[in-house]
Symmetry: C2
Subunit: 228 residues, 2 copies
Amino acid sequence: VVALKDVHKSYRAGDTELRVLEGIDLVIEPGEFVAIAGPSGSGKSTICNLLALLDNPNRGSVYFNDQNVEELGDRELSLLRNHHIGIVFQGFNLVQVLTAHENVMLPMEIGNTPVDKASSEAYRLLKEVGLEGFEHQRPQQLSGGQQQRVALARALATNPRLVVADEPTANLDTKTAMQIIDLMRNLNRDHGVSFVFATHDERLLQRVSRIIRLLDGLIVEDTMQEAA
Amino acid sequence: VVALKDVHKSYRAGDTELRVLEGIDLVIEPGEFVAIAGPSGSGKSTICNLLALLDNPNRGSVYFNDQNVEELGDRELSLLRNHHIGIVFQGFNLVQVLTAHENVMLPMEIGNTPVDKASSEAYRLLKEVGLEGFEHQRPQQLSGGQQQRVALARALATNPRLVVADEPTANLDTKTAMQIIDLMRNLNRDHGVSFVFATHDERLLQRVSRIIRLLDGLIVEDTMQEAA
Ligand SMILES: Nc1ncnc2c1ncn2[C@@H]1O[C@H](COP(=O)(O)OP(=O)(O)OP(=O)(O)O)[C@@H](O)[C@H]1O
Ligand SMILES: Nc1ncnc2c1ncn2[C@@H]1O[C@H](COP(=O)(O)OP(=O)(O)OP(=O)(O)O)[C@@H](O)[C@H]1O
Ligand SMILES: [Mg+2]
Ligand SMILES: [Mg+2]
């Protein structure tokens, strides 16, 4: 569903160049439930941004459904992202002036879903992530873990084929984290939604079926496992 | 060093009232290394804000060094916080337009430390949290876990007596998290700095000497343990 071919990414700061990704080859098939693990600063968020088509590599190519995304115009790319990809950012990135319910509706409205349908779907998703009763709070009135769950509900709003979630359980206690992982596991099994997580959280790492380990800008391990 | 006496905290949203803390009694002695655990939304961050003197309870009192903080004027309170309390926020709250180095210097400059001393201390602290080489990056040029560590370095900048850290390891891989926990454990043992963590992270919970559990706005457990 998404693939990186010999992808390099570096940042320039003045005249120094920081090489973050040094040649990444990575294929995510439909229906996968994969984690990308690695030390702080190793490039997990950078890979998430590339997989979610939010950023471009300096070298190498990104493919979505076997098409090189460089061939797509801005508008096509934007539509594709809105319809097919859900992203949970490490810092949540919720719109501060909108309520939780409005935040979750946003991608659906951008995708031209009728308002009444978007509204009931947003209520349903917020209930699914355990936030019934909090729909009309704004982000600063929500706890860290509650904001994290609004961000997940928003990522699921347009029924995407691929969800890229950067540390989706970092701010959750174990009981809530397990409920959230169950929710994602069910969407994966019953609806074939592909999930790619950037995470260091053992509770999530134990429940994925494939772990990709990053170190010094390269993939050093890519193994299948029996999900717990 | 800090204590909450029968503290109640609630938020009003329209005509509904959300009761978050329902009567909390909590004493933190000098030199303690304590964790506050509990489900997402249970009130951990709310307690952190009260302990760090950033917020006031609706009922009940907060004492710092045995003095009721209500007796302090705004200016006194502000000086006390700057000199004696370091806080790590769940969302980091770094100043986006300043570099990591400048962010760490900020509390020292506010406290009238000479610039050259503040500058070398900031470099030292950033090295201690593993960020040597990243001192001149701004927050958006840093990974989530790197930002988290800048926030910790900033909290330690004025040699505070009490550090209140809200989920300080949530965005860190295990190796880095252990280094950070070691750093805090050493400051605690060798310099008597009191640490209060709000966390659900098992890796940190195993290394504190006391765990306070929150549920439905009340403390349901307060036990000493052998730190790992
Ligand atoms: N805009 C930028 N300019 C310069 N350097 C950057 C920029 N964005 C990220 N970096 C650097 O790229 C490296 C990788 O960052 P990335 O956010 O992908 O790491 P990560 O694996 O997600 O880390 P964490 O686990 O701490 O979230 C880091 O060393 C970071 O400092
Ligand atoms: N300004 C506010 N207005 C209304 N409700 C608020 C406000 N701030 C926090 N709350 C509510 O207070 C409750 C406790 O929030 P708090 O941030 O202390 O929880 P927490 O234990 O830190 O959660 P987490 O583990 O998710 O970070 C939550 O249900 C939250 O929605
Ligand atoms: Mg990251
Ligand atoms: Mg919190």
